[in-house]
Subunit: 475 residues, 2 copies
């Protein structure tokens, strides 16, 4: 029996979420984590926090409650494990769409994350389109021919076979100025960002600029390396080259701003490179979906302007699958050593077999064919999104370039993002508001970031229908 | 033309290496890295530092020269890339055994690391024995049956299929008390150690104890997380449970101390667990080669004494291949959240396809069969090492349990490790002295740590012959 005195605190976390979020948390100071878990569990069970509702970041809630951040993080992790909450890259911790029942939650700590029936959240490719057979063929060719040293400890930059294949591909497909020696294979873009941030920090770097809208996880990864993270305003021409004083680096999405969907203006590219040249800073170009441009006006990598000032970062997460955890950096020579030093202090290098398979996948032409197929498929999905909205909701406007896996859909001024997201969740459709990506609360009109990559092909029509019904309800 | 004034400094780095190492370095303060690179390159080219010679750690040399550590690390990385130096996990930076010629060095920045013809250094399995066909079969079964969510972003703990397979295997083969929920799949043991160190640090941990002899990289990884690293003396009964005050964790190799080869005494295991219980500290059990014991007296995991106080860490690096980058932690419940929090800020999770393949490899019984084959093969190698030494050098003694992939070979009192290593290098045989693993200079008699895992089967006889010839030369 729990005899410690109870402290009650009611907290409202309005400064963070778009909608006010009222969390009633009972904390037993002698058993902080357990009581926090219990309170959060009850909040979800009772329906006080509805399906899909966004929880405050662990740092924020910890500050409000006056407890260690880890206490909150552990409680969140436990409730995710139990199926009450879901945690997803870039979109924070949320109440699960189909929270586990009490029976399930009591016994199992590792239930699978509940999945909405339809999902139009951005940031994910269609994982059902992964080319399993072709990948396996590449794995077979690569593994049977591999030199034995593949199985030993390897170079922190990655396998030479993959670095050479990527160098050729990136020069050809994205206009990157690259030799194999400047490529570092990473286990996903977030690791690439962590390595860069840590290397800059170890060199004495203090602050990094990020676009005012972007993945929260990327900001957290950079902050986790000890760098201060400052926002750069984004307008219709991309990030504004203002307020750069004191920054050691800026992280940009020049080809297709995430999530706003604009391209970085050529004049600004030049300005930013000049700034880097004059201050010794670096520009980090996150080319997360550069392969997917649908209007035959693909913009080459900004890195080509100045390979010694711009770090190019690419990934297989959008073209193939996030589960592969394969990404790549093209580094200025002066950063290769510092990045490898960080690598040596963490995971040494990315798994060699996937690297060899990817090299073979590229060299055999399968990667190009797969990217072409995927581009056509996503282009059609985008066209259908545009056509469906034009037919059913002609007053609603899509913003952003014809590119990538997402578009910004403006909501009527009278709507709130949280309300639309909640209504969609009730229909089994997962949506994401633009506000989820804002670094600070801003005055942007309400909007959704619609990702058309996620649903498998057979579910796309139904997902669009639910989207339109949800939106029409408000009108 | 370089017009900056030159500063000359002669440094001797005797406090660090077993042999005194005299580095003559000319530094141009305006072009620090370039001039350091040039000096080091000339030192190797001229033969002033012989093949196999150990360079001081970058931190030490940086301190001696009064330059940033990164400057030294970058210079080392550049010379490794050029083939003049080699860097290998746990054994520091060395002069390459076959340094690249000037022509090769001038043009190529990424030449492969020169490899000695024969290699009896410890820490590596026989990579030529990797079961390629069986691994591919497992990959095919796993990938063709995989649910689509394998290709998406996943749980930071790893795939449920692999966690379940590992839990069953570890309980059965190593006596670990484990459920799938407490398993976290990592990208190699060094990442596991980084995650643990970072999680402890984030919780307010300050210091970790390590065995006085061990992999330098492990100490560096822990230090990199911000923890102070203190040594625990090791004797014939393993690490001594002394000087534990103020430690938040200890990293141990209970089954088979690396590199000294002893087992941790049962009484000491209990003492250490009691210490952890009374202070809130954790014991980290590095079970790197627990599968390989040759006398049918395998010791179960220390973790079973107290799963809430002992973290169990295992790896596929010795049983299968380091290049896979697959390892696993079995965590006390209170550490799962903090470790996942660190994971979320770096690489999210280990690549899913290798995880699924490994799960299938275990579940199909292939892993057990492979481990049995490998155990028999390494046991025979060890027996041959013992027999060859007994025949050719009957005065020399091998120390350590009949286990794992290495043994300690005592040298005559009059010998120095550096001299024996250099003589072996001249014969194309790579050896490693015990001193390379010492945390601080100590008074241990000179010895080699002989690894019999590395040579492919066809080269083992020649490697042993060269070892004996090298050793006989001194006698």
């Amino acid at each position: 029996v729990d005899r410690a005195p109870r402290v009650r605190s009611n907290i409202t976390v309005q400064q963070w979420a778009n909608s006010g979020l009222d969390l009633h948390v009972e904390l037993n100071r002698a058993h902080l984590r357990e009581s926090l878990e219990r309170s959060l569990r009850e909040t979800v069970q009772s329906g006080r926090l509805g399906a899909g509702a966004l929880l405050p970041p662990s740092r924020t809630l910890a500050g409000d409650l006056g407890v260690a951040r880890n206490t909150v993080a552990e409680a969140y992790a436990q409730l995710v494990a139990e199926g009450w909450l879901t945690a997803r890259q870039g979109s924070g911790t949320r109440v699960a769409l189909h929270p586990a029942g009490p029976a399930a939650a009591a016994g199992r700590r590792a239930g699978p994350e509940p999945v909405a029936r339809y999902d139009l959240r951005p940031g994910f490719p269609d994982v059902t389109a992964f080319p399993r057979g072709e990948w396996l063929s590449s794995a077979r060719s690569a593994l049977m021919r591999a030199p034995a040293d593949v199985f030993g400890y390897g170079d922190g930059r990655g396998r030479p076979e993959l670095r050479a294949a990527l160098a050729a591909y990136l020069a050809r497909a994205r206009g990157v100025r690259v030799s194999a020696d400047s490529v570092v294979v990473c286990s996903g873009f977030s690791q690439a960002l962590w390595l860069l941030g840590s290397a800059l920090r170890a060199e004495g770097g203090k602050a990094v600029g990020v676009e005012s809208h972007g993945h929260r996880l990327h900001r957290e990864v950079l902050a986790g390396t000890g760098l201060a993270v400052r926002g750069l305003r984004v307008d219709d021409h991309g990030a504004r080259p203002e307020g750069l004083e004191g920054l050691d680096a800026v992280l940009l999405t020049p080809a297709h701003q995430f999530p706003l969907g604009v391209a970085l203006d050529p004049g600004r590219r030049t300005q930013l490179v000049k700034w880097a040249a004059s201050t010794g800073a670096v520009v980090i170009e996150d080319d997360y979906d550069g392969e997917f441009r649908y209007d035959r006006r693909a913009v080459g990598a900004m890195q080509a302007l100045s390979p010694e000032l711009v770090v190019y970062a690419g990934t297989a997460s959008k073209t193939l699958a996030p589960g592969l955890r394969l990404a790549w950096l093209v580094l200025p020579a002066r950063l290769v050593g510092p990045v490898l030093e960080q690598r040596l202090l963490t995971d040494l290098h990315t798994g060699a077999l996937d690297q060899l398979t990817m090299a073979e996948f590229i060299n055999s032409g399968r990667y190009d064919r797969h990217v072409r197929r995927a581009r056509l498929s996503y282009r059609r999905r985008r066209d259908r999104l545009v056509a469906t909205l034009a037919r059913r909701l002609p007053d609603m406007a899509l913003r952003g370039l014809p590119a990538g896996l997402h578009a910004v859909l403006e909501l009527p001024e009278s709507a709130t993002e949280a309300e639309v997201v909640a209504r969609a969740a009730a229909r089994g459709l997962a949506l994401e508001g633009l506000g989820s990506y804002a670094m600070a609360p801003d005055a942007s009109p309400p909007a959704l970031v619609v990702g058309y990559g996620t649903p498998p092909a057979h579910a796309y029509t139904s997902a669009l229908a639910r989207l339109c019904t949800t939106l029409a309800e408000h009108d």
